[in-house]
């Protein structure tokens, strides 16, 4: 990959040399020669923009392509899926289906009668169950304990997971960049103050704090239950911006000392312009990588909260609360006999988180040519 970079610089060097060696007096011959050379260089060397170079390196790794494909699939599934279902079948995540089926229960018991002989006692009862339907053509993954279509709920669960994770990571990046940027650029006591705040926030235990906040939110009646998860994710931003802040600060500390900043300094531009035009754009590659790795973590946070029943509230679907059906404390039946209720949700979580780490890894390698051949 480094070849491209060398080629690029070679081409520039050649052009400038050609220009130097072509004074006006030397006439037509030299100009033609130079043109010939320019054409040849254009033929032999191809200049690629940095963005395309990154894209090329990114797509060279097989894992990143796999990751990207999974993400595209999950996005289509959870954003286009509900629309299609609504248009064709006309129902959503909270539609209850009553699919009647016969349930046969056979119990036996052995006992010894008064006559000393052994008896086997059979009790057979037939009842009609309308929930927990097995997978069928109408309900691809069956229905759950409340008679809700699992396949459709997976789509809605994905939609809320993805929406929340992108929102949170966006806020986290903004907050982290601003505070880390201020700390790294100004240094001194500002840096000290911000970094101590970062230290304090980094020591907060994340999950327990979110659970406390969830209890606090539940006690505020003005907040409807469906909105609680958005507030919680807002708080998650407040807890987790510290990683981004450290990253941006570290980058800025090294960038500040480089020559191009000295050049920017001498032009006498405004401080805000120095920060936002010259420094922050240089941290963007690292930010993109850490964002794509962080997305998976937020999906895990959201699903854990939903699993505990303090995330997305019941009639609405969430991947975490779908897996909570299999909790053996509420009976082993679902864990043992209805994998269609919890397995797909778990697989989707793992796939999505994995895909984000594949893409994050691929991007890291693509942005940093030194790390790979």
């Amino acid at each position: 990959m480094t070849d491209n970079i060398i080629n690029l610089t070679n081409q520039h060097d050649l052009n400038s040399e050609v220009k130097k060696k072509t004074p006006v007096v030397q006439g037509e011959m030299a100009r033609l020669e130079a043109e010939e050379l320019a054409i040849q260089t254009a033929k032999n060397f191809r200049s690629i923009s940095p963005a395309r170079m990154v894209a090329k390196r990114f797509f060279r790794s097989r894992l990143s392509i796999v990751g990207l494909c999974i993400i595209i699939f999950v996005f289509i599934f959870s954003f286009l899926g509900p629309v299609i279902v609504d248009a064709t079948w006309g129902y959503g995540e909270t539609q209850v289906f009553k699919v009647p089926r016969q349930s046969q229960l056979l119990t036996t018991a052995n006992f010894e009668g008064a006559d000393g002989r052994k008896y086997v006692y059979y009790d057979r009862s037939i009842s009609t169950v309308t929930t927990k339907a097995p997978p069928s053509a109408d309900h691809w993954l069956g229905t759950d304990t409340n008679g809700l279509d699992i396949f459709v709920r997976l789509m809605y669960g994905g939609r809320i997971s993805l929406t929340i994770s992108f929102l949170t990571i966006f806020l986290q990046m903004i907050l982290g960049t601003i505070l880390g940027g201020i700390a790294g650029y100004y240094g001194g006591w500002v840096d000290q103050l911000i970094m101590r705040i970062v230290d304090i926030f980094a020591c907060l235990p994340g999950m327990p704090i979110l659970m406390i906040l969830s209890a606090v939110l539940a006690s505020i009646e003005e907040i409807p239950a469906e909105h609680r998860i958005y507030y919680l994710m807002g708080f998650l931003t407040l807890i987790s911006w510290t990683g981004t802040a450290r990253l941006v600060r570290g980058q800025l500390l090294s960038l500040r000392e480089q020559e191009f900043m000295l050049a920017a300094e001498t032009t006498g531009i405004k401080t805000s312009r120095k920060i936002f035009k010259h420094l922050i754009p240089n941290t963007v590659p690292q930010l993109i990588v850490s964002a794509s790795l962080g997305l998976g973590q937020i999906i895990l946070y959201e699903s854990t909260l939903s699993y505990l029943g303090i995330g997305v509230p019941f009639p609405n679907a969430a991947w975490g609360s779908m897996i909570a059906l299999a909790d053996p404390s509420k009976g082993q039946e679902i864990l043992a006999y209805y994998p269609n209720m919890w397995l797909p949700a778990g697989i989707l979580i793992v796939m999505t988180v994995l895909a984000f780490s594949f893409v994050g890894d691929g991007l890291r390698d693509a942005f940093d040519p030194r790390q790979k051949k």
Partner: protein, 333 residues
């Protein structure tokens, strides 16, 4: 060195002060439902008056929810905490410190075994992956470690329980002891084996959850070392590859590993909330989860503070280890 340690300690104390104030304010914002729920029946039947309830709340420092009231409460909580008194748990009816002391050991035991297994498996695999970079083995290890970090604990637990306890019947589903078996109190070995048998699946869960991170960390550090100049020198002077890896590369990879691993030690006491709850193991994590969901404010406060102290100690240890292990690091400040 002494100066460096003192400086670090001072910082740790400042951080802990900030963290405790934050946690205190957050927990105080929690609704005091527990007392209300408990006293609702008594108030209804006229055994208690609303004033009694208020007095009870005052006793626990939960009555005044204004900012000065909270700050005052924090000051008294803090001076008690310094003397080792974290308050009285509503839910468990005992002092918080006593509850923590009693249940922390089972959590520590599980985490410690998971930690040891993790080290034994992850480090050799990470090193082998780094030595054979871009090979099939490397890809397998990378994908496996990423998958392990992508698994939510409750899903992994459900998978393991479904496969090992329900389908194969090898391990019990939940709990710490077999309820149907009665052991003689002197049969220590039998009791121990029974408990160990119950802890296999939780330990596997915890190991798998954290193994991926360590594997990747080892691999990254080993790769960095393998690309350094002294490895080239070692190869150039004709040392066998085995010696280059075991003697020259591995020992340098050890520096970051030791600092991180020793920093993880205090965290072994913190308990695993979800895993312990799913497997119904009476560890500190599941106790804390129950307390948080039911609004047991003193316990929640005490537990979170305990976690924060563990985290700070962890950072402190890994900072100090970094200076101790790596002779190139010189502490000037």
């Amino acid at each position: 060195m002494v100066k460096y340690i003192l400086k670090r300690l001072g910082l740790a104390i400042i951080i802990l002060l900030g963290v405790s104030l934050l946690i205190y304010m957050l927990t105080m914002a929690m609704p005091a439902d527990y007392i209300d729920n408990r006293t609702a029946a008594a108030v209804q039947s006229g055994q208690m008056t609303p004033e009694d309830v208020l007095r009870l709340k005052e006793l626990y420092g939960l009555a005044d929810k204004s900012l000065p009231g909270i700050l005052k409460g924090y000051a008294s909580w803090f001076s008690n905490a310094l003397q080792g008194d974290l308050g009285f748990s509503f839910l468990y009816g005992r002092p918080v410190t006593q509850v923590i002391k009693e249940y922390v050991w089972i959590s520590f035991f599980i985490s410690l075994i998971a930690y040891v297994i993790e080290i034994i498996i992850a480090i050799p695999m990470g090193i082998r992956a780094a030595v054979n970079q871009y090979s099939g083995y490397d890809y397998t290890v990378s994908v496996f470690s990423m998958m392990a970090t992508a698994l939510p604990s409750f899903f992994l637990a459900a998978l393991l329980m479904n496969f090992f306890s329900i389908n194969l019947g090898w391990f019990p589903l939940q709990g710490l002891t077999t309820a149907t078996k009665i052991f003689h109190p002197s049969d220590k070995w039998g009791i121990f084996l029974d408990k160990a048998w119950h802890l296999v699946l939780p330990i596997i869960t915890l190991t798998l959850l954290s193994i991926g991170g360590l594997m990747r960390y080892t691999r990254t550090n080993m790769l960095e070392v393998m690309n350094s100049d002294y490895i080239r020198t070692a190869r150039a002077k004709g040392l066998p590859e085995k010696k280059v890896i075991n003697k020259h590369a591995f020992r340098n990879t050890f520096i970051p590993l030791v600092t991180t691993l020793s920093g993880m030690l205090p965290g072994l006491f913190s308990g695993a909330m979800i895993t312990e709850t799913v497997f119904s193991i009476p560890g500190i994590g599941s106790m804390a989860l129950r307390a948080t969901l039911q609004g047991d404010i003193p316990f929640v406060m005490g537990y979170n503070m305990f976690l924060a102290i563990l985290t700070v100690i962890g950072y402190l240890i890994s900072d100090l280890m970094y200076a101790v292990v790596d002779p190139r690091v010189q502490i000037s400040k």
